[in-house]
């Protein structure tokens, strides 16, 4: 098992188990990484990213490299998580890709306004989905240079 405190590269925020499984499948198929953690709702995502609650052991100095954020989440909505993330200097730098079935213009606008780094729609076709995820991972984990860690403890 990976060390949650240090080694997570991707945080997948997804409430739907099917979607979760499919996404994980797609990520693994690309052989990009095994270090995925899943948060099942907004609150869990926040706790994880803000190093509190159940994840109090985590540190801001070891941020994830990518957050894949679904929008329709129980407890705390995706947009809320995004806003919280992007408005806190400790977590602002973390790349967040909104991964959702909605292609609604207003979600697009709001997402980008809140500082999302990207927006991807989950296609119905699984092949396409797989390809999209692959491309995402390729870019964000390989090509993209992750943000430098913050100095000092949380």
């Amino acid at each position: 098992m990976m060390d949650l405190t240090k080694e997570v590269e991707i945080l997948l925020v997804e409430d739907n188990p099917d979607d979760m499984e499919l996404t994980q499948h797609a990520l693994r198929a690309g052989s990009l990484c095994n270090r995925i953690h899943v948060a099942r709702d907004g609150e869990e995502a926040m706790d994880f990213l803000f190093c509190r609650g159940a994840y109090a052991d985590r540190s801001f100095n070891h941020p994830v490299h990518l957050v894949l954020l679904d929008l329709k989440l129980p407890k705390v909505d995706g947009m809320e998580v995004l806003r919280a993330l992007k408005s806190d200097p400790r977590t602002r730098r973390i790349p967040v890709i909104i991964l959702t079935s909605s292609r609604e213009e207003k979600d697009l606008m709001r997402g980008y306004d809140l500082g999302a780094n990207g927006y991807a729609q989950k296609p119905v076709d699984f092949d396409e989905f797989r390809e999209a995820v692959h491309q995402l991972g390729l870019y964000w984990l390989v090509v993209n240079i992750p943000p430098p860690p913050l100095q000092g403890e949380k």
């Binding site: 079935s101 909605s102 609604e104 119905v124 699984f126 989905f129």
Partner: protein, 832 residues
């Protein structure tokens, strides 16, 4: 004594007459003296005894005495008759001095016993000169008399202490001749002769006396003479009594002496008798005189009283007369003022006054009158003819009629137009009143004329305005400051139902619904400040009690001085407007409701589609995903049939996903606002063609892109349209070896039509009306996939732009889809 000699007794009513008498007396006296003297001289010269001594046997006048008498007489004559020049005065004085000297010398001679021989100067050698015992001499009495007379003459006009000495001297001198005359009458010798001297001759005595009287009378306005000659009671008395008082004793003395000498009675008796007679006669005379005077006096008193009464009545009359004069003066004054005022009034009022003499056909006019007719100054003549020559032809008949009426009634009053001398047309108003002769003929008309052009024009203007107001469809009402209706036009009658008679004078409040006081008070407050009240909506009550919605506007009415005297209201019935407004409000309300409902519905739809886009896709994705995984990961474990089944599951999910996308896109078209911009269709088409390259891979396709215009439209939606149309064309040309897809424009009925033509399988026109229906398909899905939403979307987009979309096709030959967008621009010449 002084009284006698004093100046100026009142000489009564005819001073000239008494002066004349006095002077005449003096003249006669002087002449008498001259006569006696001259006669005596003649007597001596020619020896006439009569002349010498008057009564024979009496002593003869001494010649020198005679001479002195003459000289004195001449002196007196000069003084009395000739109006004084100083030369004559001197001469008289010289003569008087001569007389005086003669007398003085003789007296001196007698007193001092000098024999100067004066007496013998003249005629001494004539016979008779030397008398029986003595030669003729000037008697000393005569000398004394001469002395006094001479002095009196010399000092005739001298005054001494308010008195005249000559009067005193003359009176004194008169005693000597008087005594002598009395003596001659009595026979008392010593009275006229002194001692041994020659006595004073009778004629000399008389002459002397005359001289004395003459001297007294030669100045008839002074002294004794003036009193004697005056018309007063005193004068009358003197004239009556004095001569008798002097003459009577002499006469009685004479008679007595004669009687005594005749031995009729003795001395004592004679004296007593004389006294007796004296007393009786004088007393009687005095009494008579007194009686006369008394009566005269009474008469005088009565006369005086009568005079006083007369005077009083005269005074009274004078007062009355004065009053009458004063009154007349006042009346004159008033008349003058009145005339002034008339002139002023007629000038100020620009009223001309005229006075026409009908008989002579001439008229007097004031200057203002002629001015009214356009003349700067008064014409020399004016007549009816001249007047009529100014009247405008149209008014001729009327004026003539009026004149004729005036002849009957005596009253003239008309208005007419005239042409002035300066050719300007004016309105005049002439009024006049006639005066009849005794026979009842109208002979004179007097009146005024005024230029009433301004008033007439004002009237015309007012009439026009009144007609304007009256005919207006709106109600125009005027009210006074205390709220009474003062004007009411026909519009008001129609609106409120009251006639003008019913409304005028009534309070404006009768039009107000109950509780309208405040509104009215507020309005009137603003009016009184001179503000205009803009139209506002309110309610009024008609005559039948029904309320009526009106719009009211007010403005203040000002008089000529600018003071506010009332308000004018324009009231418009806005019932119709209200109704329309109400309807509009209702409609608006409904619309609001509907809009609200619509909004709600839209929001529901939003939520719905959102939900769909999320929730519906997810399961589809799962189906598709797991199917795929199944196929891939478990391929060895699945028979071919199994794999086929799974494939069908995947396809199903894919289709469903596509359907969801299409539906979403269709609904989005309906929801969103058009974002119009100028879009180059060519660019859009080329872009779509590029996007479709993937689908077109491996096929031979000829894309013919013609002249495509710039359109004003929503770019995204237009792209959608082209995607759908071109995508369809691509799809339905699949069976063809070479697909020809043409895009271009045509002009039909002045509109730009965009078309997409393909040589695909086409369709039967029988089903053309189903073409654009949602989910309507004209082909089997195993032949051609599709959701049946694409064309519905195209139609919705085109309709949203206000355009039209239609299609023509021939089965198995091809199809052409056309559309127009109502808002479009002409092709700006961009060639692709």
């Amino acid at each position: 004594m002084k009284h006698f000699f004093s100046e100026n007794h009142e000489v009564g009513t005819s001073p000239l007459r008494s002066t004349h008498i006095g002077r005449t007396v003096a003249r006669f006296a002087a002449l008498a003296a001259i006569l006696f003297g001259s006669l005596a001289l003649l007597g001596w010269e020619f020896g006439i005894e009569l002349f010498k001594s008057l009564i024979p046997g009496f002593v003869a006048m001494n010649p020198v005495t005679a001479l002195a008498l003459i000289l004195a007489g001449v002196s007196l004559l000069i003084q009395g008759t000739v109006e004084s020049g100083w030369k004559t005065r001197r001469m008289s004085q010289v003569l008087a001095s001569a007389v005086l000297i003669v007398g003085l010398l003789k007296l001196a001679g007698v007193l001092f016993r000098w024999n100067l021989g004066i007496d013998q100067i003249l005629f001494h050698d004539k016979p008779g000169f030397v008398g029986a015992t003595l030669p003729n001499q000037i008697s000393p009495n005569a000398a004394a008399a001469f002395f006094l007379i001479g002095s009196a003459l010399l000092l005739l006009d001298e005054k001494f202490r308010g008195g005249r000495p000559s009067q005193f001297l003359a009176l004194a001198a008169s005693i000597i001749p008087l005594l002598a005359i009395i003596g001659y009458a009595d026979g008392t010798r010593w009275l006229y002769g002194i001692a041994a001297f020659i006595p004073l001759s009778l004629n000399a005595a008389m002459a002397d006396l005359a001289l004395c009287i003459g001297i007294l009378f030669v100045r008839p306005d002074v002294g004794l003479a003036s009193l004697f000659l005056s018309d007063s009671a005193g004068g009358i008395t003197m004239r009556r009594l004095l001569p008798i008082a002097v003459a009577l004793p002499i006469l009685l003395g004479g008679i007595r002496m004669a009687g005594q000498r005749a031995g009729l009675y003795g001395n004592e008796f004679g004296a007593a008798l004389t006294s007796m007679v004296d007393i009786v006669v004088l007393a009687t005379l005095v009494y008579l005189n007194a009686k006369r005077l008394h009566h005269a006096d009474l008469g005088e008193t009565k006369a005086k009283e009568a005079l006083i009464r007369l005077n009083e009545s005269l005074q009274h009359r004078t007062t009355e007369l004065e009053a009458a004069i004063a009154e007349r003066k006042q009346r004159e004054e008033e008349l003058w003022q009145s005339e002034q005022r008339l002139t002023l009034a007629s000038t100020a009022g620009e009223v001309g006054v005229w006075d026409l003499d009908l008989v002579a056909d001439r008229a007097w006019r004031s200057l203002q009158h002629d001015r009214i007719f356009g003349y700067e100054s008064l014409l020399p003549l004016w007549s009816q003819e001249i007047f009529f020559s100014h009247v405008v032809p149209e008014d001729f008949e009327l004026v003539k009629q009026r004149f004729e009426e005036a002849m009957r009634t005596g009253r003239l009053d008309f208005e007419c137009r005239i042409i002035r001398a300066d050719q300007v047309e004016r309105w005049i108003n002439a009024k006049g009143e006639g005066f009849r002769s005794e026979q009842g003929q109208l002979i004179r008309v007097m009146g005024v004329v005024a230029d009433i052009t301004e008033r007439k024009r004002g009237e015309e203007m007012r009439e026009r305005l009144a007609a304007l107001v009256d005919s207006s469809g709106d109600a125009i009402i005027a009210k006074t400051l205390d709220g009474k209706i003062s004007a009411w036009n026909r519009g008001a009658e129609k609106l409120f139902g009251y006639t003008a008679d019913e409304a005028e004078g009534k309070p404006i409040m009768m039009l107000f619904p109950p509780g309208g006081m405040n509104e009215e008070a507020a309005i009137m407050a603003r009016i009184e400040r001179g503000e205009t009240v803009d139209s506002f909506d309110t309610t009024r009550i008609r005559k039948d009690g029904k309320p009526v919605d009106v719009s009211v506007a007010l403005s203040p009415i000002k008089d000529s001085r600018g003071g506010i005297v009332g308000a004018s209201k324009i009231v418009r019935d806005i019932t119709e407007r209200r109704r329309a407004e109400e309807r509009l409000r209702q409609l608006n309300a409904e619309l609001e409701e509907r809009a609200v409902a619509l909004k709600a519905a839209n929001q529901e739809l939003e939520a719905f589609t959102y939900s769909v886009s999320h929730d519906l896709r997810a399961p589809l994705r799962h189906i598709a995903g797991f199917s795929k995984i199944l196929t891939e990961d478990f391929a060895p474990h699945l028979p071919a049939e199994g794999r086929r089944m799974v494939e069908r599951i995947s396809a199903g999910a894919r289709n469903a996903g596509q359907l969801v996308d299409d539906l979403l896109s269709l609904s989005r078209v309906g929801r969103t606002e058009l974002k119009l911009e100028i879009v180059g269709l060519k660019g859009v088409v080329e872009g779509v063609v590029r996007d479709l390259e993937g689908d077109a891979a491996g096929r031979e396709i000829e894309w013919r892109i013609g002249e495509l215009p710039f359109l004003e439209c929503d770019a995204a939606l237009l792209k959608q349209v082209m995607i759908n149309l071109l995508g369809n064309a691509l799809k339905y040309t699949r069976p063809r070896a070479k697909a020809v897809i043409e895009t271009g424009t045509q002009v039909q009925d002045g509109q730009t039509v965009v078309y997409v033509r393909d040589n695909g399988v086409g369709f039967s026109m029988k089903y053309a009306d189903k073409l654009f229906g949602v989910f309507q398909r004209l082909h089997r899905s195993e032949d051609f996939e599709g959701t049946g939403v694409g064309l519905a979307t195209v139609q919705r987009i085109v309709h949203k732009h206000g355009g039209r979309v239609w299609a023509e096709a021939v089965l198995d030959k091809g199809a052409t889809f056309c559309f127009t967008l109502s808002r479009r621009l002409e092709n700006e010449g961009v060639v692709g």
